[in-house]
């Protein structure tokens, strides 16, 4: 009897072990096909890019040049150092400043001022570094970063806000909810190459183009839309020029196109997020007599914050990766005001055949995306409320 029980337990133990081994083998086998493809086309190329960027590589591999391709971007290493030092101080100042906000000590005021000072100092040094880089480094690349930033700031917040508003309305008792949702999602799934064709016609520089007819209705003279390199502020009468004056009208047109394409995606994701908020919370708030607005502000916004965070992150990374939308909408006359970094990299590679210059630029872009992701994680991640 006793030995019998022991037998069973050893038997089941070995069966357990056998299952674990089986699981190990099955797990590896099941992930292998995906791993192979993702490794070869997604992970290996990063290493190879870094390798390429260290050579003078134009169509075929040339001599080893070390950091030369990166120097072309920054002008000199000291420029980069100044820029990074400024950035570091800025981050440090930010943390001191915020720490001071959180603590209630007497010294907090002092820490506050110190933090603010470091923050300002960091900012000044950063801008100095940027200026130095702009003098001696690759202007095209630095310009493209500004354009990318404009594009991101022009699209992501608008897409988030519009997406949330539409989703929130759709979440009420609405007749035809499914139909609305379907329509909103349509631009997201249709190819941008095809929809761009329509946007090109709508925003053409002809006097009879739809966009011009529309603004003519409000008494505004026809504009050149996607052919217009002048900043929007300049067109509004402010005396600014160049990239410092904000996005050009051409870029704004592409921003419209981007928003139109991506709002639907945010709406659908927000809608599913709203569905995950427990109904009881709303009911409790209703009993307490909160107004609809209160409920939206104090329940929906915090409860939906993980989704907002996710969409902001995806959105920002997306704009730094964006290619098709901009590539098909750009015009030669819009010059560099619509060339984002991903387009610049493509041009360097595809048109100019400067492979190593392009890979070095792409890697700097990648590092910037990584940095932004980390910063966003740090900043927004703390405010996010995970039910």
């Amino acid at each position: 009897m006793e030995s019998n029980r022991e037998l069973i337990s050893t038997k089941s133990r070995s069966a357990f072990k056998q299952q674990a081994l089986k699981d190990q083998i099955t797990g590896i086998l099941f992930t292998f096909p995906a791993l192979l493809i993702i490794f070869v086309f997604g992970i290996f190329p990063i290493g190879y890019s870094i390798y390429m960027s260290l050579f003078n590589w134009q169509v075929t591999k040339g001599p080893y040049v070390g950091g030369q391709n990166y120097l072309l971007i920054f002008g000199s290493w000291s420029n980069l150092l100044v820029l990074l030092a400024g950035l570091g101080l800025f981050v440090l100042g930010f943390f001191v400043w915020r720490k001071a906000f959180q603590s209630l000590n007497n010294g907090s005021r002092l820490a506050h001022i110190a933090g603010a000072l470091v923050l300002i100092l960091g900012g000044v040094i950063f801008v100095t570094g940027w200026g130095l880089m702009y003098e001696t480094g690759n202007k095209d690349f630095l310009n493209s970063l500004i354009v990318t930033l404009y594009y991101a700031l022009g699209t992501v917040p608008a897409e988030i806000i519009l997406g949330l508003v539409l989703a929130y309305i759709l979440y009420q008792d609405i007749i035809g909810k499914e139909a609305f949702r379907m329509i909103y999602f349509l631009p997201y799934i249709t190819p941008s190459i095809s929809t761009a064709v329509v946007f090109q016609i709508i925003f053409s520089s002809r006097e009879t183009s739809l966009a011009n007819q529309l603004i003519g209705f409000f008494g505004i003279d026809p504009l050149r839309w996607r052919f217009e390199p002048k900043p929007v502020l300049n067109l509004l009468g402010f005396d600014v020029s160049g990239l410092a004056g904000g996005p050009s009208l051409a870029l704004l047109t592409i921003i419209f196109f981007g928003i139109w394409s991506f709002v639907g995606y945010n709406t659908v994701i927000f809608l599913s997020g709203l569905g995950n908020i427990p109904k009881e919370i709303y009911e409790a708030a209703e009993m307490d007599g909160g107004s609809k607005w209160d409920r939206f502000w104090h329940i929906t916004i915090p409860m939906i914050s993980p989704v907002t965070f996710y969409l902001t992150l995806i959105g920002f990374i997306g704009t730094f990766k964006a290619f098709n939308h901009i590539y098909v909408m750009r015009t030669p006359s819009a010059q560099n005001t619509v060339v984002t970094t991903s387009l610049l990299v493509f041009d360097r590679f595809y048109k100019a055949n400067q492979y190593s210059v392009a890979t070095a630029q792409a890697i700097v872009l990648f590092v910037i995306i990584l940095g932004l992701t980390l910063a966003q994680n740090k900043l927004m991640g703390e405010r996010v409320f995970y039910g």
């Binding site: 089986k22 099955t26 797990g27 099941f30 992930t31 096909p33 995906a34 192979l36 493809i37 993702i38 086309f41 997604g42 992970i43 190329p45 390429m52 519009l162 539409l166 309305i169 009420q172 609305f180 949702r181 379907m182 329509i183 909103y184 999602f185 349509l186 631009p187 799934i189 249709t190 190819p191 941008s192 190459i193 095809s194 929809t195 064709v197 329509v198 946007f199 016609i201 009879t208 739809l210 007819q213 139109w260 709002v263 994701i269 599913s272 997020g273 965070f309 996710y310 995806i314 290619f323 098709n324 590539y327 991903s342 590679f349 595809y350 630029q361 792409a362 872009l365 990648f366 995306i369």
Partner: protein, 296 residues
């Protein structure tokens, strides 16, 4: 007395609230309708322009006098759209088959099997979602050209493989399926195991039939990704042999120039398959998004 005086006012406010509600609701519908109009208008404009004569597109009418169906025929033949169309269909089908195969297997392994190295591999996969294509594009191009490692046939430029294999797996699809597979109750697996089921049979006979919604979601995203792909096909096709619709349309845009009506007809042709697939799958698709809890 106080009570009596208070009564009518309460009634009035109630009525006010009622009117306010209706007005509020009307306002919401107004926003939704304006939104829908903005979203749908470019499609309407595309279709209506595709049926106009060239003269009509210039005078900017809203609708053609007589629908010019011949535009479609002309666009179809003038730009060898039939060839591109067939290419796109074959590329999309191949990519989807591969994508489903790799992501269902990997999603299952990540969601339901305990094995060493799982978390590391999964984190690695997710990290690839952050990598901009600009970084991977050039090495991948060299890889496909046969400059990095020797490929069967020398170079894969202008081949079917170049257009399908790199897209046969992605982190997003695996993540989506993993989320759903992980939620399947363990009791099902225990019961199946007692019946002598191994992982593969359990996956095919139990898991896949109850996972139609997330699989549809992966299919739809995979379909649009493959069908809409532009940058990569532009790079790796130098001849018409395997050139897909999007690259063809882009070339047509530059050739056709001011022939707006033909351009629009071409654009409509390229989006019809997407629309058909979307209308067919959209129910499971939205369900898929809701059930997999795509919330980051």
């Amino acid at each position: 007395m106080d009570n009596l005086a208070a009564l009518p006012t309460t009634k009035k406010t109630k009525k006010d609230i009622h009117v306010g509600r209706i007005l509020g609701k009307a306002f919401l519908y107004l926003i939704l309708l304006v939104g829908a109009l903005i979203f749908i208008f470019p499609f309407f404009w595309m279709i209506s322009n595709s049926l106009m004569t060239l003269g009509e597109t210039i005078t900017r009418r809203f609708l053609p006098d007589v629908p010019q169906w011949i535009n479609y025929k002309e666009a179809w033949f003038q730009a060898s759209f039939s060839k591109y169309f067939l290419n796109s269909v074959l590329i999309t089908l191949g990519t989807l088959a591969g994508l489903l195969f790799t992501s269902i297997l990997a999603g299952y392994a990540f969601g339901r099997i305990d094995f060493k190295g799982k978390n590391v591999i999964f984190a690695l996969f997710l990290a690839t979602m952050m990598i901009p294509e600009s970084v991977t594009l050039i090495p991948n191009y060299l890889l496909i050209r046969g400059n990095v490692i020797p490929l069967p046939g020398g170079t894969w430029i202008n081949t079917y493989w170049a257009l399908t294999i790199p897209f046969m797996a992605n982190a997003f699809s695996i993540f989506l399926l993993r989320q759903f597979f992980a939620q399947i109750p363990n009791e099902l697996w225990d019961a199946a195991r007692i019946d002598g089921c191994d992982h593969l049979r359990f996956l095919v006979q139990v898991v896949m039939p109850i996972s139609k919604a997330p699989i549809m979601t992966v299919l739809l995203f995979g379909f649009t990704g493959a069908w809409n792909a532009f940058q990569w096909p532009l790079l790796v096709t130098t001849r018409d042999t395997w050139r897909p619709l999007m690259v063809g349309l882009h070339g047509f845009v530059q050739e056709a120039g001011p022939q707006t009506n033909l351009l629009m007809a071409g654009a409509v042709i390229t989006i019809i398959p997407i629309l058909v697939v979307y209308f067919l799958t959209q129910k499971q698709f939205t369900q898929g998004i809701a059930t997999t809890g795509l919330k980051g």
